[in-house]
């Protein structure tokens, strides 16, 4: 490993930690700017004695000065203590541990669909730009691009789930059969449940990737080295794959890291459509129910994923384009 790379990653991780700290602070400030505290709702209820409320406030440290609360909040965060969910009555870390793997699985599968389909369509269009096929595919991608991801999910759910019955209607596994299945059976069961949400998220994202890939390939095809390769009498296929595509893929690869946060934001909606038990649904429900410890944790998770995504994008770009390796 070259030291340049290690230094680059270390620097970016340090920056990332600062960003996450910034987001944690921002959420804390916004929470405390809002009138009242999590217990304000209770103080309207006549059956709750004021003395009991004071006791709870003391227990949770809500009666301390705001500076002290902030320091305690950060100290707990650093120790990995995210508090207790108000509506689920369990530690936030437990809720996250259950949800995060589901979301990462969904995002990874969607990323695969996104790039396989997006690059495929983009290249198919770019190599025969201006033809009827190109125009037809453009109509498809621009329509998909304009489709709300949750509406597309419902369409797939309605057609392939409810009407044709090919796929389950929601959840991440079959609640009754899953436990009794073999290892392979369980994996198949999970894939079966994963298919529609991953296709929903991946295909909508692929519309963007395809538009991007098409114009990247068109840019490269017009350049001199491609004309030179053609002039040398290379087969069109070799020109395309070995010369044009290799260069035209670089901007798309850079997209991959940036696609991660975008897919995660899309998963907030897709998980709600399919009842997929991940971070997105957890966060959406927590927001609806004002479950602040979960909202805080979800915001921090989102910030961390944005940092990781950007780092991956930079690393991918450096791997694909040696000229960037000297840049810190």
């Amino acid at each position: 490993m070259d030291t340049d790379l290690i230094r680059f990653v270390a620097g970016r991780l340090l920056q990332g930690a600062l960003v996450v700290l910034g987001v944690a602070t921002l959420v804390f400030v916004l929470l405390h700017l809002a009138p009242g505290d999590p217990l304000t709702v209770l103080s309207d209820a006549p059956q709750v004695a004021p003395e009991a409320l004071r006791q709870v406030r003391r227990d949770f440290g809500l009666d301390r000065p705001i500076g002290e609360q902030y320091v305690r909040y950060l100290a707990r965060l650093v120790q990995g203590d995210l508090g207790v969910s108000i509506t689920q009555h369990r530690p936030v870390t437990t809720a996250l541990a259950g949800a995060i793997p589901h979301t990462l699985l969904l995002a990874a599968a969607a990323l695969l669909v996104d790039f396989a389909v997006g690059i495929g369509i983009g290249v198919a269009q770019g190599r025969r730009a201006g033809t009827r096929t190109d125009r037809l595919l453009s109509v498809v991608t621009i329509t998909l691009y304009a489709t709300p991801v949750f509406a597309f999910g419902l369409l797939l759910l309605g057609v392939f789930g409810e009407t044709l019955g090919w796929f389950p209607l929601g959840g991440s596994v079959d609640p009754i059969r899953h436990a009794g299945l073999s290892v392979i059976g369980r994996a198949m069961d999970r894939l079966h449940h994963l298919a529609l949400p991953a296709l929903t998220l991946g295909l909508v994202a692929a519309a963007y990737t395809a538009r991007h890939q098409r114009s990247a390939l068109l840019d490269v095809i017009q350049q001199d080295f491609v004309r030179a390769a053609r002039g040398r009498g290379l087969a069109e296929h070799a020109v395309l794959v070995r010369h044009a595509l290799r260069n035209a893929l670089t901007p798309t690869i850079t997209l991959a890291g940036l696609a991660l946060p975008a897919l995660l934001s899309g998963s907030v909606l897709v998980e709600s459509v399919f009842g997929w038990p991940g971070m997105g649904r957890l966060a959406a429900e927590a927001i609806g129910r004002r479950d602040y410890p979960i909202v805080t944790a979800a915001a921090i998770f989102a910030a961390a994923m944005v940092v990781v995504g950007n780092l991956l994008a930079d690393l991918a770009a450096r791997a694909a384009d040696p000229r960037l390796r000297s840049v810190r």
Binding site: L30, A146, A151, L154, G158, L269
Partner: protein
């Protein structure tokens, strides 16, 4: 027909439908007509798009939904344009530390998916009203705009005619208003047009999650949410609002694409 023509035609029709919704709608959008006999009814002459699970006339809801969704989107983008152009002009004109700080903030904000930046204030707002939604959607939509304006202002600032105007003592505000803004109007309009489509999508997503436009105001997103439990029995509920959404976002994207091509023919 070019994309621009198809898009502007569609936008025109949609705006017309939104403006005329109170005239065109056959029923008030939130009146429950007959909970016993008229739930999830299919399309008919009296209810051209059928009724929803709460026995409300769907055509009227979708038409009024156009008003709500487009109204919010246009106003939010207006907020975004005002903030984005102001920040961009200040940043580009002032340069130095102020420019560096503003653009670092914009960089950070651009790295975060918009749904996240929108959800955080929504989560902390007690009762989300329509003006609050407009403020949140507009307040998170100006980052790319400010970058664009800043770049144009910086480029223009170096031009001889701006130097000449400064030399003869024209105040900066006047130079910006009379000489710079007219020159950057084109790209700003392109970004704003695309922005309307994006805000329509975003607001629909929020309303679908129940975090956007408060009930019983009809929003396309909440109509789709109403239709989800009866997807099979009454596909027209989610379907009509879904089609309206796709048509709207498509229309604004086509106009944005078309305008960009007009302004910069090489970019296509």
């Amino acid at each position: 027909m070019t994309r621009l023509q198809v898009g502007s035609g569609l936008v025109g029709v949609l705006l017309l439908l939104a403006v005329l919704a109170p005239v065109l709608a056959t029923h008030p959008p939130h009146v429950q007509l007959d909970l016993d006999a008229l739930r999830n009814a299919g399309p008919s002459l009296t209810h051209p798009l059928g009724t929803d699970p709460y026995s409300r006339d769907l055509l009227s809801r979708v038409l009024h939904g156009a008003r709500v969704s487009l109204g919010i989107a246009v106003l939010a983008v207006l907020v975004a344009v005002i903030v984005g152009v102001t920040v961009g002009v200040v940043s580009g004109w002032a340069g130095g530390v102020l420019d560096a700080v503003l653009m670092r903030i914009v960089d950070a904000a651009l790295a975060v998916p918009r749904l996240f930046t929108v959800l955080v204030p929504l989560a902390l707002w007690e009762h989300v009203t329509v003006p609050a939604i407009i403020a949140i959607l507009g307040g998170t939509g100006w980052f790319a705009m400010s970058r664009l304006v800043r770049a144009e202002v910086r480029a223009a600032r170096a031009r001889p005619w701006v130097a000449a105007a400064r030399a003869v003592g024209v105040p900066p505000i006047r130079i910006v208003a009379r000489h710079l803004l007219p020159n950057i109007a084109g790209p700003v309009i392109v970004v704003a047009t695309m922005g309307i489509g994006q805000v329509v999508l975003l607001e629909a997503g929020l309303s679908y999650l129940g975090l956007g436009v408060p009930q019983p105001l009809p929003s396309w997103g909440s109509i789709i949410a109403d239709g989800q439990p009866v997807l099979r029995a009454a596909p027209w509920v989610a379907g009509s609002a879904g089609l309206a959404l796709v048509a709207t976002v498509l229309a604004f994207t086509l106009v944005g694409d078309g305008l960009r091509e007009r302004l910069d023919p090489r970019a296509s």
